[in-house]
Amino acid sequence: MLQSIVHVCLAGLSIGMFIWLVASGLTLIFGVLKVLNFAHGTFYMLGAYLCYWILGRMGENFWLGLIIGPLVVCAVGFVIERFFLRHVYHLALPYQLLLTFAFVLIFDDAVKILWGAGSLGSPSVPGLSGSISILGRNFPTYSLFIIAVGPFVAIAMWAFLEKTWWGKIIRASSSDRDMAAALGARVPALFTAVFVIGTWLGALGGGLAVPYVGLLTPGMGEAIIIDAFVVAVIGGLGSLKGAFFGALIIGLLSSFGTRFIPTFDMFLTFILMAAVLLWRPQGFFGEAK
């Protein structure tokens, strides 16, 4: 029994940390730019496919793929922000959302063109493949890796935002854009930088997903964006702390659900979201309206 619970918890933690990795970029972009990037799931997917491709072409080196893949996606993100998104900030919100959605359409098909519409099997990573025995049952090593990476990224982001000069500027710009500009921050460049960083995080999540998800499909971006949205609502839109803990909760809930109430496990997530919306609409860590 204990073994079951521990394993379910660990599974939940790994799912949660995985979602956190993806949601962190979305939250960062929203927190600073106030733009909800529908294309974030697409960046995740691009990161995964690129990493996979590099893995295949450049000699089975996962780590290389993890470095190069997200950088390439960053370039895409840069182009999107600098040449398109920047010109629609002054428009009503729906237009910004629809712009990012246009890129979802474009890249979803681009992936299909480049890699086909079918699914690709995910390879395993030497050194992190296989499993470790915990309390008598095997648990995938890679999942443990994810559980470790999650908090690492969280702490790195916290340190960056709280302790570095750049981080302070970013936080200032997100709470008062005009003031930050008056103080000398080059806000447009800053926004581009934040968007690129957020994109990088999403793509990194995608790269890390390659050995984790089992199958790469062109629909993987959509699946993960819903999870990221739910996490953002529960944690509080724009709050990184909220995204971290929200992801943990969702991961654990999902894991317990799958184990104990199979058919309806996804509803637990939605029910939680509905409950949060009713009783604490700004999320656990969001700013009250």
Partner: protein, 326 residues
């Protein structure tokens, strides 16, 4: 002369539609029905998007509600097409009241996200409840039984016959949407779009009126879904997927979200364009993504908006080219 532009256009449209039904080839009839059904979906949806200023990514759930509602009624209760359609609309409305209740109390971004999430929840429901919904196979065999009026029995089995039922619903929808746009409620919804913070101070409950717009558009989505079920004789869970939710958005934008007939024009363009693109490539999404990009970057008035502006139509107060606060 310009005052009569809209009525003249409407009559022309009606004449063309009737002629297609009588003289059109099987393919033309089929395509036109698809256009009309999508137009019904988009006309209702645009009351929410263009009029009220709310972007929902979950309306496919209500389309699916209408679709599955009609199918389930057909299978378990009665085969009369109009009753089935009514049942579909009722289910769609119930769903939109429930989902709308959670969503309308939130600001734009949360609203968009929540509608997306709840919409996908409906998709998952449909996918997983195999025994009821047929899962990924959907429900099949939804035939078009004849409608009996007193002593006359109107057969609908032939597409050309069903066409006129669809046309009738299309005309009713166009009329209803027109009436709503011209009504006090229509003005209030414009007010919400223009300044949702001020509207409460004008004595309007923001939540209630947003919900009204949400449910009305959900009802039209349900009608479209039900008509779609009888068109194809089956249902599919993908009708609830969020990418299907994007269709009325895209279509309204192409046509012009601040115009009355924009969604209709957009539906025609979308379906025709898609047919053409799909002859050459599977990747129609890529092309529509590009079109959407172009529209947002430079042509937010859409086709109808741009044509109207070119022809020098002076904006009727609070009619064309308002744009969402641009």
């Amino acid at each position: 002369m310009r005052r009569y532009a809209l009525p003249i256009l409407a009559c022309l449209l009606l004449a063309v539609l009737v002629l297609v039904g009588i003289l059109g080839s099987r393919f033309t009839v089929y395509i036109t029905m698809r256009v009309m059904i999508l137009a019904i979906f988009a006309l209702g949806y645009n009351l929410l998007l263009g009029r009220t200023g709310l972007l929902s990514f979950g309306h496919a759930a209500f389309y699916a509600g209408g679709s599955y509602g009609a199918a389930l009624f057909f299978i378990h209760v009665h085969r009369h097409p109009v009753l089935c359609i009514a049942a579909g609309i009722v289910l769609a409305i119930v769903l939109s009241v429930i989902i709308g209740f959670f969503c309308v109390r939130h600001t734009e971004i949360y609203f968009a996200m929540l509608t997306l999430a709840f919409g996908m929840m409906v998709f998952s429901l449909i996918w997983n409840l195999r025994e009821i919904t047929g899962g990924d196979d959907g429900l099949v065999g939804i035939a078009r039984a004849p409608i009996s009026l007193w002593l006359i029995s109107i057969p609908l089995a032939k597409p050309a016959h069903y066409y006129f039922l669809v046309l009738a619903f299309f005309l009713i929808s166009v009329g209803l949407v027109y009436a709503i746009r011209q009504s006090p409620l229509g003005l209030i919804l414009s007010g919400i779009r223009e300044n949702d913070k001020r509207i409460e101070f004008a004595g309007i409950s923001l939540k209630n009126y947003r919900l009204a717009a949400f449910v009305i558009s959900g009802g039209f989505a349900g009608l479209a879904g039900a008509l779609g079920t009888f068109l194809n004789s089956n249902t599919t869970p993908f009708s609830a997927h969020w990418t299907h939710s994007a269709e009325p958005v895209l279509v309204s934008l192409i046509g012009g979200i601040q115009t009355f007939l924009g969604p209709v024009a957009g539906s025609l363009i979308y379906i025709v364009l898609r047919e053409i693109i799909e002859r050459f490539t599977q990747n129609w999404m890529l092309w529509f993504g590009i079109i959407l990009l172009i529209i947002i970057m430079g042509f937010r008035g859409g086709i109808v908006g741009s044509i109207a502006a070119t022809l020098g139509f002076k904006s009727r107060p609070a009619a064309q080219n308002e744009g969402l606060p641009a």
